[in-house]
């Protein structure tokens, strides 16, 4: 597999973290999930040559659609009987499905603008972001006046106590498995995507289309078709991250609740060198930086390091992911190089 430089750093950082503040790990995973899903969307999209900075808008829209679908479904079907594991109900499942579909629709718009119209992909992404902010804010203002009942949220997996009490690995098992269904499937999705991207025909073709579309087309790959499929698929993945926000992290929608996670996702994608696992590592790194920042706020360790950490303004931890990304982009510590045809519209030879 390709080299993943951040992973070692992540593990080291985690070791320190667990040593100092064991309870942070769980929060870090929960915070990292939507970032990692956004980053995975970016990886698949950009590996096929389409830049998507509309991730933020897709997540926000999906968070809203999930919530509002839950409201409507509960209105028609009643709240339903939750299952023992994860607390699944019919309205909740409908909500996730609708959210993923909404993300795919937005991504399809982006795909059409950037692949068929060959419009500027950055502007297209900006459109998604502004439209999502406007439409969800607009509808939320109208709907929240009636204070409707949502479908609630998913429950975390009930991990047996003897597993979480295990020495050395108990905290890890608790951090990873004491999560809801979206978070757990996200982790699986990322591992599967890593294998698909580097071990299968689809992955090879996707990377070919993102590195050298003309060469890909000469060997018979449908560049346009593959780009469309991947961008739309990736939109569904980012939407899953959005649904996580309003159905697993919380149980309702707030205006602007994606709060820059799509952009941190882009940062995680870059720091993770356009690989799914690397992006997950970067997302975990970023999430632990914000989790440790928050933990220091209310429980700084009472020693020299604790006092030092306490003297750092909490905003530093918010800014850290972006600082790391800029440093890596500038090539100061290890370079991160995007796919060669990333962001460039493709014109078929015969059409020219």
């Amino acid at each position: 597999m390709t080299d993943i430089p951040v992973l070692g750093f992540v593990i080291q950082f985690f070791g320190f973290l667990i040593d100092q503040l064991p309870f942070i790990a769980h929060a870090a995973v929960a915070v990292a999930i939507p970032i990692a899903l956004a980053a995975l969307c970016g990886v698949i999209s950009e590996r096929s040559g389409v830049v998507n900075i509309g991730l933020e808008g897709i997540m926000l829209t999906a968070a809203f659609v999930a919530w509002i679908t839950g409201v409507v479904a509960v209105g028609f079907l009643g709240p339903g009987e939750p299952t023992a594991i994860f607390g699944l109900t019919v309205p909740l499942l409908l909500a996730v499905t609708a959210a993923v579909l909404s993300g795919m629709v937005l991504a399809a718009l982006h795909a059409w603008l950037s692949i068929s119209i060959r419009a500027d992909q950055i502007i297209s992404g900006v459109i998604l972001n502004i439209a999502a902010l406007g439409l969800t804010g607009y509808l939320n203002t109208i709907i929240s006046k009636q204070s409707p009942h949502g479908a609630g949220g998913f429950q975390a997996l009930d991990v047996p106590k003897f597993l979480t009490d295990l020495p050395f690995v108990g905290w890890l098992i608790n951090a990873i498995f004491d999560q809801g269904p979206i978070a757990l499937s996200a982790i699986v999705l990322i591992i599967v995507a890593q294998i698909l991207l580097f071990r299968t025909r689809w992955g090879l073709r996707t990377r070919a289309v993102g590195e050298h579309p003309r060469a890909a087309e000469t060997v018979g790959i449908n560049v346009i078709g593959l780009r469309y499929r991947n961008v739309i698929l990736a939109g569904g993945i980012a939407a899953l991250g959005g649904a996580y926000l309003s159905m697993e992290l919380t149980t309702s929608f707030q205006a602007g609740m994606s709060a820059g996670r799509g952009f941190i996702g882009l940062a995680a994608m870059i720091v993770g060198r356009w690989t799914p696992i690397g992006a997950l590592g970067a997302a975990l790194l970023f999430a632990s930086s914000s989790a440790i920042g928050r933990a220091i706020g209310f429980a700084a360790p009472n020693n020299d390091m604790g006092r030092f950490l306490d003297s750092i303004p909490p905003q530093f931890y918010d800014a850290l992911p972006y600082l790391v990304t800029i440093i890596i982009l500038a090539g100061v510590i290890g370079r991160s190089i995007p796919p060669a045809a990333d962001g460039q519209p493709y014109e078929r030879e015969s059409a020219a």
């Binding site: 500027d120 502007i123 406007g134 439409l135 607009y138 962001g343």
Partner: protein, 391 residues
């Protein structure tokens, strides 16, 4: 009596000149105007559809007219409304000019937001240093501080692009968030007003801009409008402007012609950052007079739309800024009078942009010939994404 006089050759030429000028202006304005009209129609559809969401109400087909009427009344219908439109337009003009300048050089500056915020923080900080002087000293000092820090926040991505090829879209997005965190840290820390219950800066004091007209028509508005001819002059009447446009049109050719694309990229981004920083400075010195740690604005992203809608031309940017200034100014009254949420403005903005980037389709559907595609200035941008260092 004599026959009706035939027009002379000079008259013919004059008529042709006027018609040519007319069609040229039309070719520039057709798409933006069409995009605005189509967006208003799309907005009306949304208003009608969502009017049925309130319980027990049928679809209200008259609501769009009432909403747009209130929007118009709130922005242009009264003296206060008109002044408010100018107040809202002023920062959009400055930040829009900066983003437009970037487009001319083939640079996509998403960082106006961060440049605006840090310019704003800088002018507050500077105003504290000259607290006990008078306005004639305090205002220029605060303005210079805002401009310099804005320029610095624009210089960083420009410099990074010049030396390492790091794409300015990504670095400016990151710098927006770093700027936001820095602003919050400064206002909660060194700039905090002592003994204030919430983190908030002291008042800017003597650096507050004088009100020249209406309720809040401050000096900063005049300054913003003065930058329209200034930027136009720099772009179209100076060597620097020529080089900026040349680099945007073709970096390789401009290098062979002896220009220095790397230096120009860093300089253009700095100028763009300076303009956005001035926008933040004008807003703080003219309206807010102090900042709290959660200060936020929509200027950074509105300005992207303004620059695109105005085709990066200073006059176009000014007109687009006035349009969005009017919408922001009137949105409040629209929400109160017609019950249509103010976020409609964001939605309209997205639809305008959508129709602008989909201009090839629009041209085909509406059979517009000889109409310029509106986003021609951004064609060279995607080519330098990430990897390619500029020589």
């Amino acid at each position: 009596m004599s026959e009706p006089q035939q027009p002379t050759r000079t008259q013919n030429a004059a008529v042709r000149l006027v018609m040519n000028a007319g069609s040229q202006i039309w070719s520039q304005l057709a798409l933006p105007l069409l995009a605005i009209v189509l967006a208003l129609v799309a907005g009306a559809v949304v208003i009608i559809l969502t009017s049925a969401l309130s319980p027990g109400k049928p679809m209200d087909f008259g609501l769009p007219l009432r909403a747009y009427g209130a929007l118009l009344e709130g922005s242009l219908g009264s003296e206060n409304g008109r002044v408010s439109t100018l107040v809202q337009a002023a920062p959009l003009i400055l930040a829009g000019l900066g983003i437009g300048l970037g487009f001319k050089a083939g640079l996509f500056n998403i960082g106006a937001q961060g440049q605006f915020l840090l310019g704003a923080v800088a002018c507050v900080a500077a105003s504290q240093l000259v607290k006990d002087s008078d306005a004639l000293i305090a205002i220029p000092v605060a303005y210079v501080a805002g401009a310099l820090v804005g320029a610095l926040w624009g210089f960083i991505p420009g410099f990074l692009k010049a030396v390492s090829g790091a794409h300015e879209v990504v670095t400016t997005i990151m710098l927006n968030f770093i700027g936001l965190a820095l602003m919050s840290a400064l206002i909660s820390g060194p700039l905090r007003l002592p003994k204030s219950p919430q983190p908030v800066t002291p008042n800017v004091g003597d650096a507050a801009l004088p009100i020249l007209f209406g309720r809040d028509g401050h000096l900063g508005i005049v300054i913003a409008f003065l930058f329209v001819p200034l930027v136009w002059f720099v772009l179209y009447r100076t060597t620097l402007g020529f080089e900026i446009r040349a680099v945007g049109a073709n970096p390789d050719a401009s290098r062979y012609a002896g220009m220095k694309p790397r230096r120009l990229i860093a300089l253009t981004m700095s100028l763009a950052g300076m303009l956005a920083g001035l926008a933040g400075t004008g807003n703080i010195l003219g309206i807010n007079h102090q900042m709290n740690a959660t200060f936020s604005t929509t200027v950074g992203f509105d300005a992207i739309t303004v620059a695109l809608l105005g085709r990066s031309h200073p006059v176009g940017v000014m007109l687009a800024a006035l349009l969005f200034g009017a919408m922001r100014a009137g949105a409040g009254l629209m929400q109160i009078q017609a019950g249509v949420p103010a976020q409609l403005v964001d939605l309209l903005q997205a639809v305008i942009l959508l129709f602008l980037v989909a201009s090839p389709v629009i041209r085909r559907v509406f059979r517009l010939r000889g109409v310029k595609s509106s986003l021609g200035t951004t064609e060279t941008m995607a080519k330098t994404y990430g990897s390619e260092a500029i020589r």
